[in-house]
């Protein structure tokens, strides 16, 4: 039987491509700047590296941010309920802020970079909670469960890890959630 899909399938691919783009940029930047260590150095330090790693990281953030904006917009327009609509809006704002992380690097004189990075993380966390609630209400409970576990893990990390560890492990968990949510959108039928 042929299952008719809605536009959420097309938008879901932006989430997968966004994760792939950020992962490639991160791996390239980390392999070029050998002084950067996972969990020891802050992720934003790649953006002010003396090597070409800064181009990979900063452009990677901008490209991923743009893809997250489209992913969030897709979430909002193909929403099944209020949770998805709110989560999509939060994701779009988080995507804009993520792109700004690549533009406003750590070496700027003010603390603007830190504010933008923390705001991006917070908006994406709010989106995680809203979309998880939306998935539970839409009877996509397994995908909601993945969101529940990741939300609790991120909350626990805030209390235990320092900024360098939290940014590294938190982004990995965030990428796992983006992939799970993209799969949820791809597997959603038109009448789900």
């Amino acid at each position: 039987m042929k299952v008719q899909k809605d536009h959420s399938v097309a938008f879901a691919w932006f989430g997968i491509i966004g994760v792939a783009a950020f992962l490639i940029a991160w791996l390239c930047a980390a392999s070029i700047d050998t002084a950067w260590e996972f969990g020891v150095n802050n992720l934003s330090e790649l953006g002010i590296s003396d090597t070409d790693a800064k181009f990979y990281f900063n452009y990677g953030c901008m490209i991923t941010g743009a893809l997250v904006v489209i992913f969030g917009f897709g979430h909002a327009v193909t929403a099944k309920n209020a949770g998805h609509t709110a989560g999509g809006a939060f994701l779009a704002i988080g995507g804009v802020l993520l792109a700004l992380v690549g533009l406003i690097t750590m070496d700027s004189e003010s603390d603007l970079h830190n504010y933008v990075a923390i705001s991006a993380a917070l908006f994406i966390f709010f989106a995680l909670i809203a979309i998880t609630a939306g998935n539970w209400a839409a009877d996509r409970k397994i995908f909601a469960g993945i969101g529940i576990v990741i939300a609790f893990m991120l909350a626990a990390m805030v209390f235990v890890y320092d900024v360098a560890e939290f940014s590294a492990y938190g982004i990995i968990l965030g990428m796992i959630w983006f992939l799970a949510e993209s799969v949820r959108m791809i597997t959603s039928g038109k009448n789900d």
Binding site: A144, V149, V160
Partner: protein, 121 residues
């Protein structure tokens, strides 16, 4: 009287298994020191959560299917958070998370869902 479906039996057995593993870890970790109380308490909490899941599958279970599934995810989240806080052993946590995921898989079966929603007091 309706017989308990096999998936529900497996889910209940896995709940007991998770609880027993937690209790074994608790016994292995036992130290007559004040500082060990927190870590032992975390194992105790996880054991209680797994035993509660096992009870949720029973004929007079306390939860509907959706609540049982939610509590399973909460149990997995509790194990993951305990690892992050360094309160439990990583190898034990991996086994417990696998047990939790298997409980989710057993709950996903239609017969277990029907059983959990029908068999209430």
């Amino acid at each position: 009287m309706e017989t308990m479906p096999r998936n529900a039996k497996i889910g209940s057995a896995l709940g007991f298994l998770g609880g027993i593993i937690s209790m074994i870890c608790l016994a292995l970790l036992f130290k007559p020191e004040d500082t060990a109380i927190v870590d032992m308490g975390v194992y105790m909490l996880i054991a209680v959560m797994f035993f509660a899941l096992a009870g949720g599958f029973s004929r007079s279970g306390q939860w509907l299917w959706s609540v049982l599934l939610f509590m399973t995810f909460m149990t997995i989240a509790a194990v993951c958070c305990a690892v992050i806080f360094g309160a439990i052993d990583l190898h034990a946590a991996i086994v417990l998370v696998v047990v939790g995921v298997l409980i989710v898989a057993s709950l996903s079966m239609p017969s277990a869902k029907t059983w959990a929603n029908r068999m209430r007091i």
